[in-house]
């Protein structure tokens, strides 16, 4: 029994990371209607940024964020102005293709620069990477995992407050709903969207930092992170911030329980839950109580 409880607790903590990585994807989708397939690669880009600062300058990853996050914001702004804005004019499919292309470019630039070696920021954060609190004899919770979940809650809650309580946040919501009308009430939709992209990239930078501290990464790790982010965002109902937290936790718990059932079941259980939720969302009417189908009247 304790084993299962432990798996659930570990799953919830893991879900904190998934919520973190899904946050930017979900935010960008809800505000700009862009599915950013370069999402994972951008998180890895931020991770390498922190890695360079830590390994070459000896800067702790937490201090490194002070440099990397503004840089990621600039990347988001530029990305929106140069790539996303233009591709969105070509319809919904074009941004998917262009961000897919962008992910390939980022992955290969990182590969060219850093090679295929696997890295981690764990050596640069002292004992935070392995310290844990013993709750009972059977249950230990990692300090970094708790910090990750706390970061996810603070980030998603902060974004929620930002969107509802600040004038920029309201402008972002209004632009998300109707980018043509906002201009007529004095909101510069281009600027608002570029700001929103910058904010999304800051969250991606934070997620990249936690990824690099809790696990290992290499230039091609982005794809896997994108899949986790996508699954968490879809399970949570893309576009809802608190839903994203819930989606991350559902995914984390599913994977964690899957791993308990079978050591190889970690990923597959997560994917199965994702697919189940996706189908339930695609065919809501199939699950609704329905009248028996009326027989067609003969002509």
């Amino acid at each position: 029994m304790m084993i299962w409880l432990n798996q659930i607790i570990q799953g919830v903590l893991l879900g904190g990371y998934y919520a973190l990585i899904a946050c930017g994807l979900s935010f960008m989708f809800s505000v700009m209607r862009i599915i950013n397939l370069a999402h994972g690669s951008l998180a890895i880009l931020a991770a390498f940024g922190l890695f360079v600062l830590a390994s070459r300058l000896g800067l702790s990853p937490f201090l490194g964020l002070l440099i990397v996050l503004p840089a990621m914001a600039a990347v988001g702004w530029l990305l929106q102005r140069t790539v996303l804005e233009r591709s969105l004019r070509g319809g919904l499919l074009v941004p998917i293709l262009s961000t897919f292309g962008l992910s390939i470019v980022i992955d290969n630039l990182l590969f060219q620069q850093f090679g295929a070696d696997t890295r981690s920021l764990a050596p640069y954060i002292g004992d935070l990477s392995y310290s844990s609190w013993a709750i009972t004899d059977d249950i230990d919770i990692g300090q970094l995992a708790v910090l990750t979940l706390a970061a996810a809650i603070v980030l998603l809650g902060g974004l929620q407050l930002f969107l509802t309580r600040t004038s920029l946040g309201r402008a972002i919501r209004a632009t998300a709903e109707d980018p043509d009308t906002v201009g007529l009430i004095g909101i510069d939709a281009r600027r608002v969207n570029a700001t929103a992209a910058a904010i999304a990239m800051v969250t991606v930078g934070i997620a990249g930092a936690f990824l690099a501290m809790r696990a290992t990464f290499n230039p091609y790790s982005g794809g896997q992170q994108l899949v986790f982010a996508f699954e968490a965002a879809v399970i949570g109902g893309a576009g809802s911030l608190w839903g994203t937290l819930g989606g991350g936790i559902v995914l984390g718990v599913a994977q964690s329980i899957g791993a308990q059932i079978d050591p190889q079941g970690f990923l597959i259980t997560g994917h199965v839950v994702f697919l189940a939720v996706l189908f339930a969302r695609l065919y809501p009417s199939r699950f609704a109580l329905q009248l028996p189908r009326l027989r067609r009247q003969p002509a």
């Binding site: 402008a171 709903e177 009308t181 201009g183 007529l184 009430i185 004095g186």
Partner: protein, 248 residues
Amino acid sequence: MPEAPLPDAPVLEVAGLAKRFGALVVLDDIDFAMRGDEAIGIVGPNGAGKTTFLSVIVGAHPPSRGTIRFRGADVTRMPAADRCRRGIIRTHQVPRPFSGMTVFENVFTAATSGGGAGRDEAYQRSIESLALCGMMGVANRRADTLGLLDRKRLELARALGTNPVLLLLDEIGGGLTDAEAGALVETIRELRHRGIGIVWIEHIVHVLLQVADRLICMDAGRIIADGRPDDVMADRTVIDAYLGGGAG
């Protein structure tokens, strides 16, 4: 702040304005000027270019030719958001509220962005706009729960939130009962009283005539009559435009 214009100086001046969508000419060489204290009604058959005229003035569509001057400054190439901050605002015939936001948030957002107001001022102005449009009772409801009448009111309240100099109204009277139309006329009169210039497109002419002191008739992208409402309504070309060229 924009320079204070002389009372007689036009607030809006449009010269040689044309708008084409491909081969379709929607506005054809329009010249138009109005003072800031005027209330102008625009009538004309469907497809005359009335709504497009408003869209070009606010900057939703760039004109194909011609110039637009607002308070003496050339705004022809200015983005819509900047024109709004200078005081030009329109409402839409089919209301376009931000449906995921509350009624108050809709107006407040307009007041802080287009109105350029700080928090307290925007709050005051939002309350005032909502009260003027009779919407205080539904201020905290989400906009997507409103019926059509309240959506139309919200369209007006949100426009007022931006503290406009010139208010362009696109058929906000359509589908109203006589009592509702009467209340609307009172609201628009109050706005005039506060010094807001009004341009109002409306098919319900008798409602329009209760407010307008100048009437314009458009047909096929041109202004075919412009003057005192009685004169325009009696104009031969106007009658022909409405009833068709062959009529009596």
